[in-house]
Symmetry: C2
Subunit: 204 residues, 2 copies
C-alpha cells in the first residue's frame, strides 16, 4: 500500500476490540511520534500510555463531564454536526480501547503546539500502518488530565488517542473529503485554480 | 522503505536544486495534505502554490524583514540554537526552491490550527516519499502573506513549505532525536518508564 493509500483509507475509529497487543507494538507507534520534525528541534512532546482500567474510567468520567458542558454551549453548526455524526458527550472509546495515548506538549519552547500536532499526525499514520485504529480526541478542557496523570503544569495535554484493533469499519464515504481544487490556489488566493495547469512544468 | 524509515530519514532541507517538476507531482503532495483528518471534518486548510519568481522574491524580502526583528528579540537559548545551526534571518530557500507551498488555515472553525498542522505533516511525509525535500518554515508574523497573496483575513497563514529536489544531504546526526524513553510514561507522568515493561502484553 502506498502512503497516499494509507492516508486515504484511514478513518477515525470509535469502537475497539478487546484484543490486546504487546507494549513493543505500541512503542513502535510512539517511535513514529518522536521522529516528527519540531521547531528548533525542541521535541516538545510527551506521551502517557494509559492502560490501567480504573484510570481509564476516571479519564472517561472527567472527559464526559467536560463534554456535557461543551455540547450544551457549542455553536449551532457544530451542534448539528454532532447530531448528524451521532457524536454525544458519551466517550465509550475511552474505556473500551485497550490503551490511550495522552499527548502533551511542553509549553515553554517555541512552536510547541505546532510540533506536537505534527507528532500526532506521525502517530496516527504509523498506527494505521500497523493495523491499529485510532481517534484524535481533543477534550475542550484538558486540565483534568494534568491532575489525573500528574502531568506537570508546564506540559499541556492536547489530545487523547485511543488505540486498538478496530471493531467497526467506517466506509470511505464517512467524513468525505472535498475535492483538491477547493483548497489549491496558484500564486494568489482565488486568482487561478491550479487544476487549470495540471501537467504543465513548473519553472524555477 | 517502511513508513518508520521514511520518518527516520527525513531531514529539513534548506538548499534546493533548480530542477523543475510537473504540477501533477506537486498536486500529489497536496492531495496528501487534504487527506488529513480534521476537527469535525472541517478541512480548514488552504494551499497557495507559489512558483512566480517575482512573487517568491517579494515573499523572501518580507520574511527576512520579519526575521531580522525576530532574531534580534529572540530569547537567549533560541539565539544560541540559531547560531549553532547556522540559521540567520536570510531565507535563501524562499527564492531558490522551485515552489513554495503557503499553508493557511480557516480560523472560523474549531480545531483549525491543530487540523492544519496534521495536514502539514501529511504533506511533509508525502513529499519525502516522492523524493522531494521540504522545510517547515514558520515566519514569526505571517500577515505579510495575506497581503502579498491576497489571502482573506479569515485565513491565517501558518507555514511556508519550500519544495524541490534536495541540493544537500544532511546526515542522520543532524537534529538528533532524544531516545524514546525520554518521552514515554506509563499510566502516570514520571511514575514509571514504559521501557521497563517492553515486551509485556497490555491487558484491556
Amino acid at each position: 500500500m502506498t502512503l497516499l493509500d494509507l492516508m486515504r483509507n484511514r478513518r477515525s475509529i470509535r469502537k475497539y476490540k478487546k484484543q490486546t497487543f504487546s507494549t513493543k507494538e505500541i512503542l513502535q507507534v510512539l517511535e513514529a511520534g518522536k521522529l516528527a520534525p519540531s521547531g528548533a528541534n525542541q521535541q516538545p512532546w510527551t506521551y502517557i500510555l494509559v492502560t490501567d482500567k480504573r484510570l481509564k474510567q476516571k479519564i472517561r468520567k472527567e472527559a464526559e463531564t467536560v463534554e456535557e458542558s461543551f455540547h450544551r454551549e457549542a455553536p449551532k453548526p457544530l451542534k448539528n454536526w454532532f447530531k448528524e455524526q451521532g457524536i454525544t458527550p458519551q466517550k465509550n472509546f475511552l474505556t473500551e480501547a485497550p490503551a490511550l495515548i495522552v499527548v502533551a506538549g511542553y509549553t515553554k519552547v517555541p512552536y510547541w503546539l505546532e510540533s506536537t500536532w505534527i507528532s500526532i499526525a506521525y502517530i496516527l499514520l504509523q498506527a494505521a500502518s500497523q493495523g491499529f485504529g485510532t481517534l484524535t480526541y481533543t477534550p475542550s478542557d484538558t486540565s483534568f488530565l494534568n491532575q489525573l496523570l500528574k502531568i506537570p503544569k508546564d506540559y499541556q495535554p492536547v489530545a487523547i488517542i485511543p488505540i486498538g484493533y478496530p471493531a467497526e469499519k467506517p466506509s470511505p464515504e464517512t467524513r468525505p473529503r472535498k475535492p483538491l481544487e477547493t483548497f489549491v490556489h496558484r500564486d494568489k488566493y482565488g486568482s487561478m485554480h491550479v487544476s487549470e495547469t495540471t501537467g504543465t512544468t513548473l519553472t524555477a
